[in-house]
Assembly symmetry: C2
Homo-oligomer: 454 residues x 2
């Protein structure tokens, strides 16, 4: 067994190298919704993985960006998949960034850049860790398959097809997922599942063009129609009232509930970090935590219609309105089924003329927590991190776990990763704390070593 102090010293001595790698990765604007920087990012990764002895191939299906598969051969029969994504979220609103999103900047002990936390931080930490592993531990006693997709941030639209097409190339015994978190108090978190995501765009059009608002007295309004359609989805207590929406929800087991009740959650620090006065519905304590993990959501990601210059007046009746909704689903809801139920709900409630476009549909997923990888990641986390690690049977965010865990039958564990709740994921001034990043580099060496001995 490798001495943890040895790993720590090695990471500390070479920290600038690992930070420079992260900066290089975060300088490349690989925004999946805009299709920029993809080739550059894939080439950078291929070169890095090649340096670790990987044979890299590019996986794609019709219309998809390329996913990378980097196979680093090792002795023994076991294969460990490491899943990450090389795409990032869009940067708007750009004017709220304190430093340019693709010019990684160290400030206050943090690294600011789009992707620093989601998920180039984890990806580069893992690549760095493998270099250390080879130096400190030696040859791999298992094969590693880096599987890095390019459209996670736009809903992994083709991911399931890629998994199906390349099922034999991807075959593995366990899967390390995109990293978990530290909470606001620095306590690590790991995950064995995720919520699903149904991302919908709704469009209403009632007129061929915008009109003077005085005729709103007789002309129909797309904005009112869409506003009412969206409002019809939840009651005033934020419960989703689409008929049949909760049919597929599986009650959590007592063990799962117990794990969730043990999760530390600093309510006041979270509220302060959000700039919020209270949590949704005024929840606190175990009720808040259980709700967080086991409850599906209907979020308004966007709603746009008509004139929008702050402080100015334009008396217009807008011809059209657009809303973007994301539903976070829990096991065993089925995303496509929920989309159909939403359409029936709109139809039944007089909103049949609202156009519904499904932009993303990912199913929720849950894996067992007692796999070889799960035990290695938990054991080494308890030893590596000063604070106790919280174990989530399922996180409140979404990843495309389903095609791997349920589709290919590879159980997943998402060990602690570089982000925190205040890392501004998907928002301006995304960042990770530099000590968190370096800690994850070392921790990855630790659990890979333990997995190799398991």
């Amino acid at each position: 067994m490798t001495d943890y102090d040895e790993i720590r010293k090695h990471v500390e001595a070479n920290s600038q190298t690992y930070l420079n790698s992260l900066k290089e990765a975060c300088s490349i604007p690989s925004v999946s919704t805009e299709g920029t920087g993809f080739k550059e990012m894939a080439d950078w990764l291929e070169q890095r993985l090649g340096g670790l002895g990987a044979t890299v191939s590019r996986l794609s299906v019709d219309g998809s960006p390329e996913a990378l598969l980097g196979v680093i051969p090792g002795s023994g029969d076991r294969t460990l998949m490491i899943y990450d994504h090389y795409d990032v979220q869009p940067v708007d609103p750009i004017d709220l960034w304190e430093s340019p999103p693709f010019e990684p900047t160290e400030r206050d002990g943090r690294m600011f850049a789009r992707g620093a936390a989601d998920n180039k931080g984890d990806l580069v930490a893992r690549i760095s860790a493998l270099g250390i592993y080879k130096e400190l531990v030696g040859d791999l006693p298992f094969t590693i398959k880096f599987f890095i997709e390019g459209e996670e941030e736009s809903g992994s639209v083709h991911f399931e097809k890629i998994c199906q097409k390349y099922a034999s190339e991807l075959a593995s015994d366990d899967c390390v997922w995109e990293g978990g978190w530290f909470d606001l108090d620095g306590a690590p978190q790991m995950y064995f599942g995720c919520k699903g995501l149904l991302y919908i765009e709704l469009n209403a059009r009632k007129l061929s063009g915008d009109q003077h608002s005085s005729i709103a007295v007789y002309a129909p309004s797309a904005a009112w129609q869409l506003l009412r359609a969206v409002a019809s989805i939840k009651d005033s207590d934020d419960s989703i009232i689409i008929e049949g929406f909760h049919d597929g929800v599986s009650e959590p087991t007592p063990e799962e509930v117990a794990l969730v009740d043990k999760i530390p959650f600093n309510e006041s620090a979270t509220l302060e970090s959000l700039g919020a006065e209270s949590f949704l519905g005024g929840l606190t304590g175990t009720e808040l935590k259980r709700n967080m993990i086991f409850t599906p959501t209907a979020n308004i990601a966007g709603f746009h219609s008509g004139y929008g210059v702050p402080g100015a007046s334009k008396t217009v009746l807008p011809a059209e309105a657009m809303a973007k909704l994301d539903f976070r689903l829990v096991p065993d809801q089925d995303a496509e089924d929920i989309a159909k139920k939403l359409m029936s709900h709109l139809e039944r409630n007089g909103f049949g003329d609202v156009e519904v476009r499904v932009l993303s549909a990912q199913n929720p997923s849950r894996s067992p927590i007692d796999t070889k990888l799960g035990l290695a990641a938990r054991n080494s986390a308890q030893k590596w991190f000063p604070k106790e690690t919280a174990v989530f049977p399922q996180m409140w965010a979404t990843g495309p776990m389903y095609p791997i865990a349920q589709g290919l039958g590879i159980p997943i564990c998402s060990p602690p990763g570089v982000g925190r709740p205040d890392s501004n994921l998907h928002a301006p001034n995304e960042h990770c704390r530099i000590p968190d990043y370096l800690s994850i580099v070392g921790y990855t060496v630790a659990y890979l070593e333990e997995y190799g001995r398991a």
Copy 2:
């Protein structure tokens, strides 16, 4: 009495001159919400009015753009005010214009330009008519006061104060208002009143910044809050359910109802022009017409929150949301009073944290129809236009009539003007039909002549 044929021949012979004047006026981008082109437009008008023998002064109060007062002295005791505005609406969405909004373009017998119909068309037609009057009829037997304001399209915020400050300079016996319309069948329309306008901006903020949408399970949503706040204003039948909203509404008299019932309204042509399938609430016939004139509205002029790129996904929980509402009010509702009732309504229904900004508050107005000006405009309209003129005791749009009609006690008549319902007022590709414009030039000569003899 002047021969109408003589007027028609004169207008026809000099039509290019009147069109060139309109083009000149519409080339100047006097957008009130943006404050552009104002000096240029005022200078142009001062030069034109000066050519008619007017003494032009500029009226303003703190923070207002300058209104122009051009006094053309005439014999006799009577004074006729002619009200118009020299500002225009913003041009966005600019990419839907087929020709640049400030490069007036003749196409299909129409003049396309921002302001061509609202209201530079009427204004330039009237200036042109005065030139003809002097040539064909001679000296004026009454004084004319051109009163041309510069912020009608941004809610005439300072107009009432200007009227109060310059009450003695503005004193008149009658007021010709910004022009009426032709309907889609070419039948002229005139107005003796207007609806009021309350323009409100609502802002909700629940978080200090945008967040990853997965935390929508516990973080409050400004978009949901504002959407529900707006939805609470009307019931599903489009009735406004703000407590006390209808308290000030005065029942129309049987004479007013009879006038409205006589108004021609081509339902199928209107629907076709709007690209709409049916009228709001499925109304038709007299019910539709009475609703149009006598019913107040709550229009969503804009609603904006979060991500808005069509077809793309961003899983964001937006920190804030903004809505713009315009209420069209009917006599004798009071705009400021309605604003207070809206705030109480929001407070009572759990939306007290939504910020309310009143951007414009104009009261509704109605004048008697049997004034010297009203009779002259009606009589000459019946003789000038081939189709019967519809008389509206009150129009469904808004103008700042209240400070003139109720504030200064000058009764108002709005004679037929250059626009039609499909002129795209406030929208891309605003235009007027060239024959309509030239007809209004001649008609103005006719009713001024009749008013002079009354």
